[in-house]
């Protein structure tokens, strides 16, 4: 179990873009399970949508992506960053609304060479609300910031 202090040491994202509140289990190099508690205070609910708050699907993907970073064991070289490269077949089966507790699970499916691929699933009260696949790679900071 990792609480927020440990989580802050592992991932670089910070509020309002921190999407994992607790990590239940990590199997290094294989899988992870984590929790995000969805609050009506989150800023995206102001506009998505007025009077009908629904957590944006892209943020569900982001929550899954942040959990994946706990699975990848090796830190990238200092001049590199891990980035999301590809999102495959994501389905948003049921809406996520304030008050939901997201049980997120990610499992590595491929890890050859420069890529890491994961299957991800988001459940609320045992029911699947979103699922799909994510692919990450390490890229040099120069290729991002010195075009």
């Amino acid at each position: 179990m990792m609480y927020i202090d440990d989580i802050n040491e592992k991932i670089k994202q910070r509020p309002p873009f921190q999407m994992i509140d607790r990590v239940i289990e990590v199997v290094p190099g294989e899988s992870a399970e984590g929790i995000k508690c969805v609050s009506v205070n989150e800023p995206h609910f102001i506009g998505h949508f007025p009077g009908a708050p629904i957590m944006p699907g892209v943020l569900l993907i982001e929550a899954c992506a942040q959990l994946c970073s706990f699975v990848v064991e090796q830190e990238p070289d200092a001049d590199k960053l891990y980035v999301l490269l590809k999102v495959d077949g994501f389905k948003f089966v049921k809406p996520v609304i304030p008050g939901d507790v997201l049980d997120i699970s990610v499992k590595k499916t491929r890890g050859g060479g420069a890529l890491f691929a994961f299957d991800a699933e988001v459940r609320v009260d045992g029911n699947v609300h979103a699922k799909g696949s994510l692919v990450f790679t390490a890229v040099s900071r120069d290729s991002i910031y010195k075009r």
Binding site: L85, R110, G111, G112, G113, A114, L115, V135, T137
Partner: protein, 81 residues
């Protein structure tokens, strides 16, 4: 591994993971560029990762001439195994 077996594996991967229809992909079909089936740089990273995992050959930073087609990728793997 026989060349044809290697090429069949590459084709299976490109079709199943990169979403290319099998009937438009021959071993000499151009993969990248204007007159190709339209793979992009993300797909090339997928191919590099697959080749590394499946055949144990690192194609990171390899000249793009080697990525012209399944034929050229297989030739590179054979030459560098």
């Amino acid at each position: 591994m026989a060349d044809n077996e290697m090429k069949a594996k590459l084709k299976d991967f490109i079709c199943s993971t990169l979403g290319v229809e099998a009937d438009v992909l021959e071993y000499d079909t151009e993969l990248f560029g204007d007159s190709s089936i339209g793979l992009d740089s993300v797909d090339s990273l997928e191919i590099i990762s697959y080749v590394d995992g499946e055949f144990g050959v690192d194609m990171t930073g390899v000249d793009k001439e080697n990525f012209l087609s399944i034929d050229t990728i297989a030739a590179y793997i054979t030459a560098n195994k």
